[in-house]
């Protein structure tokens, strides 16, 4: 296996192929704190891409309630258990070893690629540690929906003092999931047919339907279980990152790259998607603090990767839910949870402005600019003074055209006094 650099782990790791990077990378940020679990994103995706015969159980976008929900059922618990079994007691982070290229410290445990060598099957060692979910596990995408975690060992009860920040004793949250279009995709690594590839222009991971022979190795390998088998074509399919929209081929877009369907449909305004530049020398993101995705992930570090310990370097990032017990979040998002929540709870002036851009319109925002406004409110958050400024944030597309202009305070429409009640 080759050695490739994974910045989320702060170290090199084993991967079946040589390190190679696209010009840009498809990436997104989901703000878990805002999601109401309405599944509009799931339906937007389904009605666009997976409404045909053989795709009945296929949800490229799904929203599951954690801790009990999962599609397929228990996908993350199973993956974590497999890792733990392969490397018992050593799946740990050293958060003290941080720096520019290791923002969350260094991961000392094994990734799905590294642990694969410890699980030798009849066909030799697996390329990626994984399992194939059963039909039953795919059957109910909403299992555990809205089921809250109560006191340990007490089934069906909730803590009497359940709700008081910083951590609730009874809790659940919605986890929004699409393909992470990983930098080191496990599906791609496992495919014996070389049917899976990463697009050099935007890093979107696709399955070549002509080459696929339905061996389901991608389904087995992806720790996030996002490739899915389609029974009637006997091939695997997965989220395609709505690439025609990313390419600006959406009919109404006049050639401007648009966000994916699931992002555009989000009524809770929890989603932002974009493309980040890649430094070909380091494989890391090009320094671009005015790109909103870069700003949220790299500069403000308010959004964290999902299960970075799997080692695929996922390109989906999450603003962690602030009411959830920290050990659970540490396991899910790695170190950096405390800082991310702290920054989100008392946002900087810049962060608050950028948060207004979430779902402000359909086109991909490549760059933002902030025009300072007056101070409108003062308070204390966690004992520290905090002020709200009515700044204006302006979003631009990749060509520098202005796309949107938002103020931190919501705009007010005044109707003429004589028609105040009319609509």
């Amino acid at each position: 296996m080759s050695q490739v650099y994974n910045w989320q782990l702060g170290r090199k790791m084993a991967y079946p192929f040589e390190e190679k990077h696209p010009d840009h990378q498809f990436a997104f940020v989901f703000n878990i704190n805002r999601c109401i679990g309405c599944q509009t994103c799931s339906m937007a995706c389904k009605s666009t891409w997976t409404f045909s015969k053989g795709q009945e159980y296929m949800w490229w976008n799904n929203v599951e309630s954690k801790p009990y929900g999962g599609y397929p059922q228990n996908w993350d618990v199973k993956a974590l258990q497999m890792l733990e079994k392969a490397n018992p007691g050593k799946q740990e982070w050293d958060a003290t070893k941080n720096g520019a290229r290791r923002p969350y410290g260094a991961y000392g445990g094994m990734t799905m690629f590294e642990a694969a060598s410890r699980r030798i099957g009849p066909e030799g060692p697996q390329r990626v540690l994984g399992y194939l979910p059963s039909d039953e596990e795919w059957r109910f995408p909403n299992t555990g929906e809205d089921a809250a975690k109560g006191p340990k060992g007490a089934r069906g009860t909730y803590d009497k003092q359940g709700a008081s920040l910083p951590e609730h004793n009874s809790w659940f949250f919605y986890l929004q999931r699409i393909c992470n279009h990983c930098t080191y995709p496990a599906c791609l690594a496992a495919c014996p047919r070389k049917a899976i590839y990463k697009r050099p222009e935007d890093g979107i991971v696709l399955i070549d339907q002509e080459r696929c022979r339905g061996y389901r190795k991608c389904v087995e390998a992806c720790p996030y279980k996002k490739p899915m088998f389609r029974a009637n074509t006997r091939t695997s399919e997965k989220c395609i990152g709505c690439y025609p929209r990313i390419e600006g081929k959406e009919e109404l877009s006049n050639g401007t790259p648009w966000e994916t369907r699931c992002m555009a449909a989000c009524v809770g305004k929890i989603r932002m998607q974009g493309l980040v530049g890649i430094d070909k020398k380091t494989g890391d993101w090009s320094n671009d603090p005015q790109n909103p995705i870069y700003f949220l992930v790299k500069k403000e570090k308010v959004a964290l990767p999902l299960y970075p310990q799997f080692g695929t370097e996922p390109n989906g990032y999450y603003i962690p839910p602030r009411w959830v017990p920290r050990p659970y979040l540490h396991q899910m998002f790695g170190p950096g949870v405390e800082e991310a929540i702290e920054r989100y709870t008392a946002p900087s002036r810049e962060l608050l402005a950028v948060m207004q851009l979430f779902r402000a319109q359909q086109a991909i925002i490549a760059r933002f600019e902030i025009k300072e406004g007056p101070k409108v409110y003062e308070t204390k958050i966690n004992g520290k003074p905090w002020a709200l400024f009515n700044d204006t944030v302006i979003g631009y597309d990749a060509k520098g055209n202005e796309l949107v202009r938002m103020t931190v305070e919501e705009g007010l429409q005044k109707r003429p006094a004589e028609r105040a009640n009319s609509i």
């Binding site: 053989g54 099957g121 009849p122 066909e123 039909d135 039953e136 059957r139 022979r213 339905g214 061996y215 029974a231 009637n232 074509t233 006997r234």
Partner: protein
């Protein structure tokens, strides 16, 4: 007999066989499948791909002996007058959904079966023999199977209790017959005995064992007899001709075990009420068939006494009893 298997059932069983082979280092079967599958990908149109795969899986399914396994059992039962000529096997995921059903015209037989059951020769043989015995009973005019009449004329909850009892009594009669033929898997008799006890808890442990043994070893009861048996322990023993043996000369004294179900509300209870005359009158207003020997939980007792106290139809019951 014409057999059809659900395509998903064939597929999962064949795929499981591949995995079994692989785990033993045997790639032959899987590779042979892949070779033929490759031809479908390259030579067959996308529209016909699914059908071609179904055919391929069915071929492997038969090659692996699944069709013969089922056919062998079915042949033990077919041949008689009116036995269906077509049989369809559908896939189910739950054990309690497994079973057989006859089409209304009696021509087709449908099975619901889990892949795990079909994979295990012993489990599969038992399920098929058990279900086919049900079918033979249904087809036998002497059994007089009739679903047009409800089991209870009184209430849905009683219907539900009687239905459970009917199912269990019929099941254990069938399993008794299978045991005598040497076709019963181990431990199943104990499971049936425990099911029986849970539905006739007021018999008490010793009496329940005696009644179970009588039923297990008895001739096949008819549907009419089963209908009588489900109404209570007394009728059950009467039909089996063991009433004197079980109850002696005196009146039946039921045992209401802790945690057994109240015959009226169906909830398990640890508090049985003392069946007084007033209570009997109150319950009988809504459930004429209920007898004190069937037992009643204290919550139901309170509820019927309360209702009766305010009912104009019960002049004999005064408000005093709820004070």
């Amino acid at each position: 007999m014409f057999l059809t298997f659900n395509d998903a059932l064939c597929e999962i069983l064949v795929e499981n066989e591949f995995q079994d082979g692989l785990s033993k280092g045997d790639f032959q079967l899987r590779d042979s499948f892949r070779k033929q599958a490759d031809e479908i990908y390259t030579k067959v149109t996308l529209r016909k791909r699914e059908t071609s795969f179904f055919t391929l899986y069915r071929r492997f399914f038969s090659k692996l002996g699944y069709t013969e396994r089922v056919k062998g059992i079915l042949e033990e039962f077919s041949g008689g007058d009116g036995f269906p000529e077509e049989c369809y096997f559908a896939r189910t995921f739950r054990e309690d959904e497994e079973g057989a059903q006859l089409s209304e015209d009696g021509v087709r037989l449908g099975f619901q079966i889990r892949a795990e059951t079909l994979r295990d020769p012993e489990q599969c043989a038992y399920l098929l023999r058990h279900e086919l015995t049900h079918i033979l009973d249904i087809l036998d005019p002497a059994f007089d199977y009739d679903t047009s009449r409800p089991l209870s004329e009184v209430s849905p909850s009683e219907e539900s209790l009687f239905r459970d009892r009917y199912r269990t009594l019929w099941d254990l009669s069938i399993d008794g017959r299978l045991e005598r033929k040497g076709f019963l898997p181990q431990d199943l008799k104990d499971r049936r005995a425990s099911e029986f006890r849970s539905l006739f808890l007021n018999l008490g442990v010793e009496a329940a064992e005696q009644v179970f043994a009588a039923l297990w070893n008895d001739r096949r009861p008819s549907s009419g007899e089963l209908r009588q048996m489900v109404t209570g322990a007394v009728s059950l023993c009467a039909v089996l001709n063991i009433a004197a043996e079980i109850f002696g000369e005196g009146e039946f004294q039921p045992t209401f075990g802790p945690g057994s179900s109240c015959p009226l509300c169906q909830f398990p209870t640890h508090e049985w009420a003392e069946p007084t005359e007033e209570l009997s009158r109150a319950v009988n207003e809504e459930y004429p068939a209920w007898e004190p020997t069937q037992g009643i939980c204290s919550q139901c007792a309170n509820r019927y006494l309360f209702t009766a106290a305010f009912s104009t139809n019960s002049p004999g019951i005064t408000r005093k009893i709820i004070e």
